[in-house]
Amino acid sequence: MTKLWRKYILWFAQEHVDFRISEFESIVKMFGIQFRPVTEQTLKPFWLVEFPDEKTALLYASRSIALRAIFELYAHSNKFSQFHERLRAHVTGNKDELATYFRPDTSFKITVETYNKHFSQREKIEKIETMDYLPIEGPVNLKNPLVEWWYIEFWGLDPTAVPPEPEEILFGRLLAHGQRHLIKELSLKQRKFIGNTSMDAQLSLLMANQAMVQEGDLVFDPFVGTGSLLVSAAKWGGYVLGADIDYMMVHARCRPSRISQKIREKDESIRANLKQYGCADRYMDVVVADFSNPLWHPRISFDCIITDPPYGIREATEKVDAKANSKDSTRTDDMVHYPSTSHYSLQSLYGDLLEFAAKHLRLGGRLVCWLPFHREDYNPEMVPHHNNLTLVANSEQRLTGNTSRRLLTYEKHSQYSVVGATQVPVATPSEDFRDRYFNSALESRKERRMRKAEQRELGRAEMELRGKVPSDGRAKKCELNKARFN
């Protein structure tokens, strides 16, 4: 049996490295793919993995965002001589099977990819020529070859310490590319309706993979915003439903985020976004609702909940709240009333979110959400937990020097029972992310402004010493404006 398994090269983009392993795990679980790792699953961009057959390998590539391309491995080694020996042995050993690729009418192309070291075109051709023992008979076709082989040299990860010899030399046949083209296709730059907190295409696709969204799943985002997470979920076949407390946002009437745009266009909406990518049929609805209050029928269960809750930095954390008010109300019944909101602490927000997921996910369904935190006080203890949910993945994305956010993936493993019986208090950071963000930065905004002003003053003094007359930028601008109106 073992003989039938094949080795494949997985080539990953060296971006969001921390998300790669959990994405791989989610995809193999979603499709029930069997695999055996050959090399350790490290942070290197090339992995060797065994799959039972080519179909399985292609299935994996049909979903992965982290993957650049997948190759059927012919030979690999960390020494040139051994590499060529092995490649020669592979080609002669699998003569019958490889015969189709070496036929006179099979056009081909060999691509040379070197990681962490640059080679000129001439040197690359020389590398190809070292493999002159390959029994290739077909014509070269660089544009549209029938078979494409890749010769890969991996020269370590550190550009300041390139080793004298490559760490790995690989050769394989290109099977398929990953789904990275979707990052461009769903790019926010071309999207109809975006806001300040729209999630970029790559991360929202990764989130949908973490949530294991599949054809016909019911997907919910309780903090929907501009619906960026719904777009990727719908792209993978999910039927999407969203809710948000912000009336203006849900109706796409809030202030535009694009610098070139003064007012929102009439036809901007979350539905228009889905229509733009051909997923209009997947749009269920969006609702204006406050997440801190129950709204959904107890019977409803979602297959996935994907969300990016507000952290209080770019988007306020809000809920409708009762406030003590001694004044007499002057409003009449027919007046439009906007309920006042109060701060919704991250602690209670995550508590509510996990409780909601435990109640409204189907068994085996997943909750995927972001948790912001300050890097210096992170410890695994502060990740919220719930008795009915298992944390299956936790990957970090750096935001600034001292802040980060983690993408948390939970899976519901047991049926929710009445509150109090199984629920464990949620442990979240004691202090609010927002307060820390604005108040305990390394330097306050005022300090920073003063420091910058001082620097400018120093620069000006130096210029004068060199005999240059510093121009007054502000005065210049005023002049220009005056000239315009005269």
């Binding site: 269920m284 609805d285 609702v287 019977r299």
Partner: protein, 124 residues
């Protein structure tokens, strides 16, 4: 708002309301949107829906002739009924209208196809 979503919404957030379901639906303006018929999805969705509320929505949308008052058995084999359910649940979009809490009479407006389920401070 689609009539499938109508089936998910309750008014139980209002102080003192226990069930808050089904909400009383009024349609002032609706639109028919065409969408792809996916029988598997409807079958998966049905156990999450309340049949009485489906039937209620059908009456308001003037489609009651299509939907039986009680849920028939083996619905998965009845392709015609699934198609009618698809039309009712996904192709009717309520643009203007309202939802009324059955216990308190509180009204939630639907504007531009989006229901506003926000409550006032004194109601939560």
């Amino acid at each position: 708002m689609k009539l499938s979503t109508y089936n998910f919404l309750t008014s139980m957030a209002i102080k003192g309301v226990k069930v808050g379901f089904p909400l009383k639906l009024t349609i002032n303006k609706k639109e028919e949107v065409e969408s792809e018929f996916n029988p598997t999805f409807i079958e998966r969705l049905l156990p999450k829906l309340d049949w009485a509320a489906i039937y209620g929505a059908a009456q308001v949308a003037e489609l009651a002739d299509d939907i039986p008052p009680t849920q028939p058995e083996n619905i998965g084999e009845n392709e015609l009924l699934l198609q009618k359910l698809h039309h009712l649940l996904f192709e009717i979009d309520v643009l203007e209208g309202q939802l009324e809490c059955p216990e308190t009479g509180r009204i939630f407006p639907i504007t531009d196809g989006i229901p506003n389920m926000l409550l006032n401070e004194d109601e939560v």
